[in-house]
Structure formats: structure tokens, C-alpha cells
């Protein structure tokens, strides 16, 4: 089986989906000849033509709105926003239309679209290129928010997102676009949405993360094992709607939980998970839930961004603290 980077796996899934289904259309800025600024759409236009791999004008609201119109007509559009920092004009379309078209027409019109965007800090990019505001999207009923953390899951989850009959925002962690490699078989098999993946089993503490933060979280779990702490690692993968049961089952076993995300702390998705555990898993807790997050500040420019991002050390420290609690 070939070893692929995460971005290559995205490309493979797009090619597969387009080959399998003539209704799949890719659109966005520079996605055509240029193959996307991160090369996620490389080669697609040559293979599928400029009408199915559409270089749009520079207009993000348009990209998301086109997706809604195309999807209502039964196409399966996959829009690309170059960076999450430029996704905000799409929020109107996502909140007011994509997420509710099925609901407001009671099933008469539907919106099987995917909006992909690279997201997150740590690639020494210019200002506005390091956002991780996934929680804004995860707040929207009717939407799915999916974040892959490995090439294999990027392939399987993107296929699932494209085949899903409802709108999906697919957030691709830029920092690990090329930093992780893995074997991916182009078998057209989708992975399930709405399901968290237990990447590592352990009985002492549950570590929950998604996207690029799995890199630090898995490294922390390795190092904690050397200290005799067996960490269970969960990749949440779908943030909306998210897999409550896998989290609760794990916490029931370990009694301890650390949530790791690079987004700012206040009202981040970690708060949602902590609330879930407080509501439905309180009695299995042996220690307070800990959050290791980005700080409540603007993501700094590259000179300071490594200080902003949660490190392996911070994850380990939090894990030790909850394990040693009481």
C-alpha cells in the first residue's frame, strides 16, 4: 500500500469521488490548473475538466452560496476555501441556508455539499492564516463538522462527507498536511461520520483531541507510558454531531479526562466536552476534567505561535495532574 501525506489522501479521495460520481463538482480559488494552494486538488482539472473543477472568482460567500444552489439541484459540490481565516463570509450561507435548507422546506430541498478548508496554526503563515474557529461551526444545528487527523482518516472521512446527504464542513489540519504519512488504500471505502476513533487504549486517563493536536497528544501518550501512565487517546473526528458515548465510555473506565485543542479556551469545544462529562459522567470522575488549549488571545504571528500551541509538555503536565489528583 502506498504511503501518502494527509493532503495527498485528500486529493485521492476527491479524485475517487469524482470518478465514482459525475455529480461531484470541485470549486474554489485556484483549484484548477494550479491544483489549489496546498495542491489538494492537483491534477483534478486535467482529469475531470474545467467544468467539474471550477476556478471561481475570488469570492468566498459566492463559493458557499454556489454550493447551496448546486446541491439543491442534486449536484454534490465540494467547495474549497483557501484558509479558514477567509471562511467567515460563508458563515451567512452556512447558518442561514446550507444547514437549514432541508429543515425549512421539510425535506423538499436538500443540501449535500462539502466545504473544505485548511485550518490551524503552526505553519509559519502570514496573519489570518492560522485560525482554528471550529467551535463557531460546531454550534450550527443541521451542519456536520469533520476534522481528519491522519491520511487514512482524511481519505475515508472525506469520502463519507461527500456522500453524506447533508452539508459538511471539512477542516483539514494544515500543520499535518505533510507532516504525517500513512498507508492509504484507494478502495473507495468511507469511514463513518459522527463517530470518534479510539487511537490508543489505556486505563488511567482519557486524552481527547482532533486534527493536528493528535500529533502532540499521541506523543504525550507515548511519553506518559514511560512514566507508567496508560493514556487512552480519542480522536473526536466529527465535532458536530459528536460521539458522546465513546467519550463517556472511556471516562467511565479511566475516571480522568484531558481535552486538548489549539483553539482559544473560552467557549472552545473543550468546554462542551467538559460539560457533557459533568452532566452524564460526573460520578465516574476521579479528578476534574482538564483542558489544554490555545490561549484566549489572537493567534500570534509566527515568531510566537509555537508558544501559543499546546505542546507535548503541556499535555503531559495536565495528564500527570489529573492522574495525581486527590
Amino acid at each position: 500500500m502506498p504511503e501518502l501525506t494527509l493532503v495527498e489522501a485528500v486529493n485521492l479521495a476527491l479524485a475517487r469521488a469524482m470518478a465514482d460520481d459525475a455529480d461531484v463538482v470541485v470549486l474554489g480559488e485556484d483549484v484548477g490548473v494550479n491544483g489549489g494552494v496546498f495542491r489538494a486538488t492537483a491534477g483534478l482539472q486535467r482529469r475531470f475538466g474545467p467544468e467539474r473543477v471550477v476556478d471561481t472568482p475570488l469570492a468566498e460567500l459566492l463559493i458557499s452560496g454556489l454550493c447551496v444552489g448546486m446541491a439543491a439541484q442534486g449536484l454534490k459540490p465540494v467547495g474549497e476555501i483557501q484558509f479558514m481565516g477567509f471562511l467567515y463570509p460563508c458563515i451567512d450561507q452556512l447558518v442561514n441556508h446550507a444547514s437549514r435548507l432541508r429543515h425549512r422546506t421539510q425535506g423538499r430541498l436538500t443540501c449535500p455539499m462539502v466545504l473544505r478548508t485548511p485550518y490551524g496554526a503552526g505553519i509559519r503563515a502570514p496573519e489570518h492564516h492560522s485560525e482554528s474557529t471550529e467551535v463557531m461551526l460546531a454550534h450550527i444545528p443541521g451542519l456536520r463538522v469533520v476534522v481528519p487527523s491522519s491520511p487514512e482518516r482524511a481519505y475515508g472521512l472525506l469520502l463519507a462527507a461527500i456522500r453524506d446527504p447533508d452539508p459538511v464542513v471539512f477542516l483539514e489540519p494544515t500543520r499535518i498536511y505533510r507532516a504525517v504519512k500513512g498507508e492509504v488504500e484507494d478502495d473507495g471505502e468511507a469511514l463513518p461520520l459522527d463517530v470518534a476513533f479510539v487511537l490508543r487504549e489505556g486505563r488511567d486517563v482519557t486524552l481527547i483531541a482532533w486534527g493536528a493536536m493528535l500529533k502532540e497528544t499521541l506523543a504525550a501518550a507515548d511519553a506518559l507510558a514511560d512514566e507508567g501512565i496508560a493514556a487512552e487517546v480519542i480522536d473526536l473526528a466529527t465535532l458536530k454531531p459528536y460521539d458522546e458515548e465513546t467519550i463517556l465510555a472511556s471516562v467511565a473506565k479511566t475516571g480522568r479526562c484531558v481535552v486538548v485543542h489549539e483553539a482559544a479556551r473560552t467557549a472552545g469545544f473543550g468546554a462542551e466536552i467538559a460539560a457533557l462529562i459533568a452532566e452524564r459522567g460526573l460520578l465516574s470522575l476521579l479528578a476534574p476534567v482538564a483542558r489544554v488549549t490555545g490561549y484566549d488571545t489572537i493567534v500570534p504571528l509566527p515568531r510566537l505561535e509555537q508558544h501559543y500551541l499546546p505542546s507535548v509538555d503541556r499535555v503531559m503536565a495536565a495528564a500527570r495532574k489529573v492522574v495525581g489528583f486527590g
Binding site: A59, L61, L62, G69, H103, Q106, P141, D164, P241
Partner: protein, 354 residues
């Protein structure tokens, strides 16, 4: 005086544009010029007339329902019936309508039932699961945000080589939004089968057109997007219908998009939640009543001896009856169980909702 930058020097003029204004009937119903060919079809003219009268009867009843607590906020189309009717009557069933919230007339023309429209404004999503063409879009409340959808719909037609056209209606206020521009720009690039209709009723709630734009016409906004714009007398249903017919035919034939600016006037309040007397003088509204579309077409039909007092009375009674019957069906619609608010949230409710 020519204030074009560079004028008075020998730089060449590299672009010139013009925008025309189409009208056939004067406010008193007198033909101003040769009428479009469909005007010889008396049945069609009568259908347009009936459509406008039914819409007005329905609108006024809806306001009455709101005033008596039996309907939520409602946006009347008083005085603007010709725009929606003229446009909708030029469409085919397979075409896709993307209306604003004020296009009751177009929805009714396309087969949406009056009780369905009432159900929506009465606070029930089931009103949007309507009897009109299943591919039509429902009312759009976020101003102008339906324009990019229209471009996506038209793109699908183009991709599949289907001889269908998307028709998108929005107000003068909407033309200030990026949404509308982004959609027009894209439609121009891809020569999409898409007709944009700007219903220029002079007002966006309390904001008059002159605070909306310094552009001499809304029609000319198409020019920057690379296609033609035309202004029509929006109180002349023949002008709206003729312009829409031509634009839709051109779009269907691969000629790309067009923008029609239909100049009309909002005779009513913005919605039932608005009191227009706070921001515009009643005299202005009074003066505009002289131009409204229903009297205009009736005068013309009377002059052609195709209409008279008895027909008018019969039509009024018939519309009243149809509206009352629809209101009864609306009021008889049973409530929904609270848990149905989760119906159709997703194709299948995710496990976590169980």
C-alpha cells in the same frame, strides 16, 4: 460637459454602454408603442390580470389576518404585483424560481397554494413544502442571499446541458449587497442561464433608493459583470413579461444572464411590523397610486372591450371566495407535535439525538 477622466486628450474611448427603459402602457392604460406579440393573446392578458387581482386580494386578507392575530409578520406586495406576475408568467415549470420574501404573486402563479404561504408566515415550516414546482426555492429572508444559490442552480443546468433557466428576484436594497454582485459576476464569467430581476420599489424599509446607490440605474450594474441590463416599467405587466420572456429565452438559448430592473413602488408598509408614515409623506404614496399596475392593465383591457364592470365584479367575488376558502384551510391546519422540530434536521437524525 464630459467629466470622463482623460477626456479632452487624445486617449481612445475603449468602452461605451447604454441602458434602455422598456414600457408599453402609459399609466392610463394607453399603448405608448407597438405592443409585444403576446399581447394579441387575450386569454394570456386576462390571466395576467386575474393573477394580479388574486394576489392583491390575498395580500390584503393576509394583512387583515395579521392585524387580528391570526398571522405573523407579513410582507405585502401592494402595487408591485406586475413584477412577480410578469416574470413568473414567462417561466416554464422546469425553470427554477428563487424569490425574495415579497414575491407572493410569483409563487401563486407557479402553483403554491395560498394556505401554504399563510402557513409559512403563520409560523410553520410545512408552508415551504409547497405544491409549487418541487425544485423552486422558498421565500428568502436574508436579503440578497438567494442570488448565489441562483448561480449554483444555473451552473447545474449548464453542466448538465439542460435547457432550463434560473430566475432570481430581489429588491433594490439587495443590489447593495456583495451577494448579488458576486452572483452576477460569476454568472457573467460562465454565461449562465440565469435571469436576475431587481424589484426597484424605491425603498428598503425606510431607506430610499438615493441612499442605497448613486448609480443612475440598477440595470447598469449588469454591465460591469459583462452582460446586459434593462430597465422596465415595473407597473406595466406587459413590459415586465416581455423583458422576462426575452431574457429567459436568451438564457435558455445559451446567451447568458441578464438583469432586469423593474421600477415600481411599494404602496404598502414594508411589512405589517412597519409604519411607513414615519419616514415617507403620504402625498408621495398618493401620487404613486396613479401608476399602479392593476388599474393600468384594466384600463387597457377595457379600451380593448375585453373587460367590463360585470367581469370585474365577478372576478372580485371569485378571488374573495378563493381567498376565504384558503384562509379556512389555513386556520384548520392542525398543530405539530413539539418533537417535529427535529424532523428534517438531517436526512437521518444522528445517533446522539436518540
Amino acid at each position: 460637459m464630459d467629466d470622463t477622466p482623460g477626456s479632452g486628450q487624445d486617449f481612445p474611448v475603449i468602452a461605451r454602454f447604454e441602458v434602455r427603459r422598456r414600457s408599453y402602457l402609459a399609466p392610463d392604460g394607453a399603448p405608448l408603442r407597438a405592443l409585444p406579440s403576446f399581447a394579441s393573446d387575450l386569454d394570456l392578458l386576462l390571466a395576467l390580470y386575474r393573477g394580479m387581482v388574486l394576489t392583491r386580494t390575498f395580500d390584503l386578507k393576509a394583512v387583515a389576518l395579521q392585524r387580528t392575530g391570526r398571522l405573523g409578520t407579513y410582507a405585502v406586495s401592494l402595487g408591485q404585483e406586475a413584477v412577480s406576475i410578469g416574470v413568473a408568467s414567462a417561466m416554464r415549470e422546469a425553470d427554477v424560481l428563487l424569490p425574495s420574501y415579497r414575491d407572493n404573486a410569483a409563487l401563486l402563479w407557479r402553483g403554491v397554494k395560498m394556505e401554504e404561504i399563510l402557513l409559512y408566515w403563520g409560523g410553520d415550516e410545512r408552508g415551504n413544502c409547497s405544491s409549487g414546482p418541487p425544485h423552486d426555492f422558498p421565500f428568502c429572508v436574508p436579503v440578497g442571499s438567494q442570488a448565489p444559490h441562483a448561480a449554483g442552480v444555473a451552473y447545474a443546468f449548464r453542466l448538465r446541458k439542460e435547457p432550463r433557466v434560473a430566475v432570481c428576484l430581489f429588491g433594490d436594497g439587495a443590489t447593495s449587497k456583495g451577494d448579488v454582485w458576486e452572483a452576477m459576476n460569476f454568472a457573467g464569467v460562465w454565461k449562465l442561464p440565469l435571469v436576475f430581476v431587481a424589484n426597484n420599489n424605491q425603498w428598503a424599509i425606510s431607506v430610499p433608493l438615493k441612499l442605497q446607490t448613486a448609480s443612475a440605474t440598477l440595470a447598469q450594474k449588469a454591465i460591469a459583470a459583462g452582460f446586459a441590463g434593462e430597465q422596465v416599467d415595473g407597473n406595466d405587466v406587459l413590459a415586465v413579461r416581455a423583458a422576462a420572456e426575452e431574457a429567459i429565452a436568451a438564457a435558455r438559448a445559451g446567451g447568458g444572464p441578464r438583469l432586469i430592473e423593474a421600477v415600481t413602488y411599494r404602496l404598502g408598509d414594508h411589512t405589517t411590523a412597519d409604519d411607513a408614515a414615519r419616514y415617507r409623506p403620504p402625498e408621495e404614496v398618493q401620487a404613486r397610486w396613479k401608476e399602479e399596475p392593476i388599474t393600468r392593465l384594466r384600463s387597457y383591457l377595457v379600451s380593448r372591450k375585453a373587460w367590463g364592470k360585470s367581469q370585474e365584479e365577478q372576478l372580485a367575488a371569485e378571488c374573495q371566495e378563493r381567498v376565504e376558502a384558503a384562509v379556512e384551510r389555513y386556520l384548520a391546519t392542525g398543530p405539530r407535535a413539539p418533537q417535529t422540530m427535529f424532523d428534517h434536521l438531517y436526512a437521518e437524525l444522528p445517533a446522539v439525538y436518540a
